[in-house]
Amino acid sequence: MRIPVLVRTLSVAGLILSASALAGACGDRIGSVQTSCCGGRTVNTRVCIGMGTICADGTGGDFFCSVDCDLFQAGACDQAKEPSGSGSPLSLIEASDRRLIADTRPSSSAACGLRGEKLEQWIRTNQRVRQ
């Protein structure tokens, strides 16, 4: 199985935080691909599905979907690039056969749509309060 290697770095310091996050290391559930809506566009995103998808370095298997979306939105919403409202800025480097090099910053811009933590906050405010 050809699985890309993603190396997550903190772009500000250029420091590698997580040496690598192999999709194949995400427990025993390997990533699949599905389309997602990122900033209003339909994008192919890769996800690891299931409870067994926590990677050895502690990143969730669904890390990849966010990565793909971030990469896309970095291109689609350049004007919206700003210091992250929901997490650290990311640099993403993919292995040699399918390299993606991008400095992406999860954006809170309206043009990119709510997602991540901000979407969770919105959901909570629109949800019945349960005991």
Binding site: M1, T42, T53, V67, L114
Partner: protein
């Protein structure tokens, strides 16, 4: 005997290998560019979502919200009318102990989330209209069967699950497609085995072309890469509708059947992390004839979320940070 016949009938349905050289069907209708016939801007902030949207009989649209974790079972309902949006989430304990796999929405608007626990057991949570969980059902499917799509028969409470056996399955099942019907209590009463397999080695490269839909006629429609299978609610094979696509390499990602017309979502075979090019096709499920092939105007965008024969396609747009629903008639 029925089993052997079913194997033979369903066998070719899940061949996953596209032709080496994409070719175009020449006898299809010309592609029509859809334009907006109406637009409705909602006071709802635009949000991202995972996978394909679902719809109920009232035209409300449901999304798996793109929260921080794909495994969160958070569903957002966007109203067709003027009511408020609604969010469905699991309570803290089941949310912590399960991971989202798939969801479906019954015509009445009841939401069903299929999740799995740490033991890879499949569990269906049903949400009532008030947003509370009204039932929890563990499906009796093997842990090595990876579900990609679930459909609910609201009239009977039965579930249809569609997926494949993963690498942990026995040799004779590994990579084979998996289809089963369960009763409301989760017991499998029909295992629709077939002999075909998907390529486990390409799972991380392309979207799975496995999708199912329960029609208004009560029949089950299963979308494969090159055809639609029609089954009765009890799993009996009815017929096969061969798909003819503008581009044979296009991936089939979604199916809705409305008043005798099947709408098929086709997408370009693009790389992960890239935007996809959307083509829509309508097929007469009685004759198999392709009725229309459509692309969307720039105004509509590429997020076609629902379809009905009477209304056409509904697109979701990001209109200055707010959700906008645009309807495009197909006539």
């Amino acid at each position: 005997m029925w089993f052997v016949a079913l194997v033979l009938l369903l066998g070719p349905a899940f061949q996953h290998t596209p032709p080496a050289h994409p070719k175009k069907s020449s006898d299809l209708p010309r592609t029509t560019v859809l334009v907006a016939s109406s637009a409705k801007r909602l006071g709802i902030p635009f949000f991202n979502f995972y996978g394909q949207a679902k719809q109920d009989a009232g035209g409300n649209v449901y999304f798996h919200a793109a929260t921080r974790r794909y495994s969160d079972s958070s569903i957002i309902r966007i109203p067709y009318g003027d009511s408020e949006p609604k969010a469905y989430s699991l309570p803290e304990k089941p949310a912590r102990e399960t991971a989202f796999i798939a969801f479906d929405v019954a015509p009445s608007g009841r939401v069903y989330v299929l999740s799995e626990n740490a033991d890879h057991r499949s569990i269906v949570f049903e949400f009532g209209g008030d947003g509370d969980i009204s039932s929890r059902t563990e499906l009796g499917i093997p842990p090595s069967a990876r579900v990609a799509s679930m459909s609910v028969f609201e009239a009977t409470g039965n579930f249809f699950v569609l997926g494949y056996y993963d690498s942990s399955a026995p040799d004779d099942l590994r990579g084979k497609t998996f289809m089963a019907l369960t009763s409301p209590d989760g017991k499998v009463f029909r295992d629709l085995k077939n002999s075909r397999a998907i390529d486990l080695n390409t799972l991380g490269e392309k979207p799975l072309t496995l999708c199912s839909y329960v029609g208004e006629d009560g029949n089950l429609y299963v979308l494969a890469s090159d055809e639609i299978l029609v089954l009765t609610a009890s799993g009996d094979f009815m017929r096969r509708i061969k798909l003819r696509k503008p581009d044979d390499a296009a991936l089939t990602t979604k199916l809705i059947v409305s008043q005798g017309l099947a709408a098929v979502w086709l997408q370009s075979d693009s790389a992960v992390g890239k935007a996809v090019e959307l083509t829509l096709e309508t097929v007469d499920i009685g004759t198999g004839r392709v009725v229309g092939v459509y692309s969307a105007s720039d105004e509509l965008g590429d997020n076609a979320v629902t379809f009905s024969r009477s209304e056409g396609f509904v697109f979701l747009r990001n209109d200055g940070g707010k959700v906008s629903l645009l309807t495009a008639h197909i006539r």
